[in-house]
Structure formats: C-alpha cells, structure tokens
Amino acid sequence: MIQYVIRRLLASIPVLLGILVVVFLLARLIPGDACKAMLGEKATAEACERFNRANGLDKPVINCIASVRPLRLGGCLVNPFETQFFIYAGNLLQGDFGQSIRFSRPVTIILAERLPTTIELSLAALTIAIVVGIPLGVISAVKHNSPADVATMIGANIGVSMPVFWLGLMLAYLFSVVLGLLPPSGRITAGMASAPFYDVWGWAVDAATPRYKVLEFFANLYLLNSLVTGQWEVLRDVLRHLILPAAALATIPLAIIARMTRSSLLDVLGQDYVRAAKAKGVPRAAVVLKHAFRNALLPVVTIIGLSLGSLLGGAVLTETVFGLAGVGRILFEAITARDYPIIQAFTLVIAVGYVGINLLVDLSYTYLDPRIRLK
C-alpha cells in the first residue's frame, strides 16, 4: 500500500513537471506585457525597465529565449539557473510563490485568502450532490421503472444539461427577488465579520510568519471558523449565503452521481449473491444497503472524484454570478492584469490538487473493494 502510494507519487512527477512548464509558459504567452498592464499604456521605457527589473521580468524566460511572446531569441546566460523559469521553480520548491504584481503582496497570503472561498463552495456543492444524489440513485434503482425512477432520471438528464451560470442567476432571482428568502450574492452580510479563531482564542500571531498564512487559510474557511469558535450568528449568515451558489454548482455532479448510483446498483442487484441473500430471507432493505450498496459504490466514487474537476471549472462561473471573491474570480482578473505570479500559483494549486484527488480516488478503491490490489 505505502509502496504503491510512493510509486504513484513518483509517477506523477513527470505530470507535475509538465504542469509546471505549461502553467509557466501559459502565463508568459498571454499577450500584452505586465508593465503596460500595471503602470498604464503611457508608461515610459525607463519606468518599464525599472518595473521589469523589480519583478525579475528583465531576465530571459528560459536560457537563450529572451521572451516567449513575441518569440525573441538571445539573452544567453552563462549561468542557466538565472532564467525566469529556474528562479520561479527554485522559489517554488522553497514554498515561495513570489509577489503579486498587482497587489504587491506575497501570493501565498492571497492564496490563503481566496482558496478557502472556493474550497468551501466546492465542498458544500459536493456534499449536496452526494447527500441528495446517492439516495436518489438508490431509490431509482430499487424502484426500477416506477414513476419515481422515471422522474429522477428525467431530472438527472436535465441536470447534466444545465448551464451553471444560468441556473445560478435563476435561483438568485427566484429565492431573493421573488421569494425574498436568501441573499443574492456575497459570502457574508456587509458589516458582519467572522472573527478569526486565533484572535478569539487569543493566540499571538506574527503576520510575517508562514504560520500566520496557514492560520489565516483556516480562518477564512468561514463555516469551519465560526463553528469552532461558536459564532452562531455568523455561521447562520454564511450558510444562508452559501446555499444558492452551492445548490447551483451541485446540480451537474448531483445528476451524474444519481445516474451512476442507479445504474451501478441495478447492475449489482442482478448478481447471483444478491439473489442468494434474498433467497435466504435477508430483509430487502438489508440486501440493498448491506450487500449491494457497498459493491455498487466503486464507480460512484470514481465519478465523484472526476466531477471535482468540473466543479472547479463551474466554481469560476458560480463565483462570477454570486460575486464571490474566490479562486475563479482572481484567476480571471489576474489573466486580464497579466499578474503572472498569481496566474501561475493558482493554476498550479488547482492542477496539483486535481492530481492529488485522483490519487485519493484510486486509494479509496482498496478500501471499498478489497479484491483490488494496487500494484
């Protein structure tokens, strides 16, 4: 098992390196230069030179390639490790993502601020999708061809075809304008603040240390933070803000999970051992839940892992619709502002997280089906 994990981690190194290169090059390939984007179109050559030097943009991108777009050769260095790519990769290995050009702040602290929004949203959506999707699928399979089954499957087909951004807007219209039940946007009501747990517990934290960034990351998971510190008002408010975006984002994975649970369970229910269990008089509910369900879970877990990717893509749209300052929004803004460090850091984090999730999914197979030996 541990051997397998190690081998898988090693095997993902080429992919991770590839991701690193792609992320780095994509950021450089975006047209327009950072200086003009930051200092304005009328920035003088000297000002730009100073700006580029300050941000390390005067160095060749890779040895002998001065810039990628437009492709300019030249700028061969005696020491190839002084190129932008190697400086970037080297800093990265030391946990340094660089400074945001636009905000003049370390990217890590921006990650600690923005990542939690998206994680909270995605996890909430995934929870809804699983908690609603799996029971729907089970009911559909057990009551095969009943009106409930047909309705669920029609709903699931419509669900997978739903544009997230449209659903989000429609939900916002229905629940905040027509019914006036929930707030249409934002993460928390203006004026209300979620006091970070380290303040509540009176921890002395130095804002310059990496520890602060880690604590800040967890404090920005508002649900978790308000839960552990007992700020019930805040918790209620955050939840009310979270419901609509999470519901919108959950639709597609929910539909996929319900469909997969249904077809997988139908498959398993037709197996001989299920018939044997029925024959020996095991109650129907126990047959479904104990004998069949666990065996039907395997493809469902795979599909849950896979849908996390589309969840992240959907998060960009959901954040735009609901005005949430998450990963999607900042990436989008960073691309327009040529904020290379931000683009690099956030795409890298997402891609690495995605690779990690796939590994977790593979590992969960052994738990769900002991017959599978990971080699």
Partner: protein
C-alpha cells in the same frame, strides 16, 4: 425505457439470412426503441431546422434595434397576443433586450452559433485526438509515452479553466474560444482511440490483413479505425453537449462570442445584471442552451445503448439511465 430490444435477427425462416446484418441499421432500430433517444433526436432535428430556417422564423433582424420602428422600450417583458397582450401592441414572444432588439429573433439565430460551435469544436478535437491516439496505439514505445503524458498534463487541468487560459493567450473571440474548447477536449478522444487501437491491434482479423500485405497505415485506416468508430461516436455526441456548454460559459465570461453576435452565452453574460429587473433576458437564452445540450446528451446516451451489442439482450444495464 426498459423495453428489451430483440436480438438482431440473424435467422430467417429458412435458416441463415442471406443479407448481412448491418451495424448501422441495427443501431437505428435500437435507437428508436428508446424514448429518451427519440426525444433527444426530435429536439435536435427541431434545432437544426430552426438554425437552417432562422431568417424565415425570426420576425426581426437579430442585430438591428427597433428604435424608431416600433413603440417599444428596452428590456420590455414578452408580449404574446395569445396570452392576453393587447393586440395593438407589437408581438414579441421573448420580449425586448437591453439594446431594444427582439429577443426571440436573437435566440432563434443563436441556434446557428451553438450548433456550429458544438460540431466544429468537437470535429477538431476528434480529428486531432484520433490521430494522436492512433499514433500512440499503433507505434507504442516512446512515442506512445510522450503523447499520453502530454495528454495527462492537459487532463490535469479542469477543462473550463484551461480553456479560459488558452483564450487568454489567443485573445477573446468566438473562433479562439472554439479552438480552446477543441484543444481541451483532445485528450478524451486520444484516450478512446488509443484504447480501441490497443484492443483491436491484437485481433486475428488484423493479423489477417497484415498477412495479406496491408501496411501499418492501411491497417490503421481500413481495419482499426472502423472498429473504433462505435465508442468514438458515443463520446463525440456527448462531447458536443459539453462543448456547447463550455462555449456558452466562455461567452458568458466575455471571452467567446462578442456582442452584438446573437450567441446565447454572450446574451446571458451581457444582460446578467438585469436578471432582477428583466429576468426574461436571462431566462430564454439559458433555456435554449439547456435544451440544446439536453438533446445531445439524450442522443448520446441512446447511441451508447444502441451501439453496445451487450445491451441488446438485457435491456436494463449500465448506461440505460
């Protein structure tokens, strides 16, 4: 939905039928036994007809405003005579948009964009992906490794985010959005094709054609490719649904089709702030996207069942959902 499809009739009354059973004819027959597939196909045909006959269906020009032509205001809600809208007012089935244009006409013309986007993006991805997958599968070794590792890297990014990044590189616009979505979906087809090649490569009929003197390319195009068509068609049909959805998302974010192009995603994106005052501006384009995507999804599911010979007998198996 669960009607058990009868097995293809190999035996006629006199014994073996003299006519070979055609895969396509069987597939068509099976397809029409599935209610969801029929629904999908019907919607799709209606959409294709709408796209072709858009100039005759749409009462107004999709990009021309009505200022001075009619007594209408921007963002006026739908006025349908049948539903009690006074007959002296001009009829606008889906209302008026922010630029005083007839929304119905724009939605009708939008069908053209969505269908073209879906087919082109997926067509591009299928051609490139199939070639890469076939090369990887046929040649094996280092080439296989390199191609598939590059595909792994592409798959490591959530599709929509990668598409956003590619559009950022290429610049916003409908063509670039198309290209981005095409590039992002290449790995899927490469994988499907490679898997098919790997499984067909070792078949006896492939060895037979090799023994008959067929070269690698000939085997690829005349023997392996036709056998890989089945999964490709299914994946591509479902892929069109995703492509349309992603293209609409890119346009929604302002990266795809630009106004005044009557593209659904861009119509939605441009008027999304009006949702609280004029929800019809958001409702109808979104509904159109959903219907289009739904039709491809239903058709893709139906095709998957119809093309899978294992499903013929049991009727209720995987994927019937």
């Amino acid at each position: 939905m669960a009607t058990a499809a009868p097995a293809p009739r190999l035996l006629s009354a006199e014994g073996l039928s003299d006519r070979p059973v055609s895969l396509w004819r069987t597939t068509w027959r099976r397809l029409f036994q599935r209610r969801s597939a029929i629904v999908g196909l019907t919607i799709l045909i209606a959409l294709v007809l709408t796209a072709i006959f858009a100039p005759w269906i749409a009462p107004y020009d999709p990009t021309d405003d009505l200022i001075g032509d009619e007594p209408v205001e921007a963002r006026q809600p739908p006025c349908i005579h049948l539903l009690g809208c006074p007959a002296d007012q001009p009829q606008h089935l889906m209302g008026i948009d922010s630029n005083v244009r007839d929304l119905f006409s724009r939605v009708v013309y939008g069908t053209r964009y969505s269908l073209v986007i879906g087919f082109t993006a997926v067509g591009f991805a299928v051609v490139v992906g199939t070639l890469l997958g076939a090369l990887a599968g046929m040649l094996g070794g280092t080439i296989d490794n390199v191609i598939m590792r590059v595909m792994d890297v592409l798959l490591a990014f959530p599709a929509l985010l990668l598409a956003i990044a590619i559009v950022a590189v290429l610049g916003p616009g409908l063509t670039n959005a198309l290209l981005a979505i095409g590039i992002v979906s290449i790995p899927i087809y490469a994988r499907v094709m490679r898997a098919s090649v790997l499984s067909t490569r070792e078949m006896d009929f492939v060895s037979a054609s090799r023994a008959l003197g067929e070269g690698t390319l000939g085997i690829l195009f005349r023997v392996v490719l036709p056998n890989a068509m089945t999964p490709l068609i299914v994946v591509a049909t479902l892929g069109i649904a995703t492509a349309i959805l992603d293209a609409a998302a890119l346009s929604f974010l302002g990266l795809g089709a630009q106004p005044p192009t009557p593209e659904w995603g861009s119509m939605l994106g441009k008027d999304r702030n009006q949702v609280f005052t004029a929800p019809h501006l958001v409702f109808f384009p979104g509904l159109a996207i959903m219907l289009t995507v739904l039709s491809f999804n239903l058709l893709g599911d139906g095709l998957r069942d119809a093309l899978d010979p294992r499903l013929g007998r049991k009727g209720t198996k995987l994927g019937e959902a």
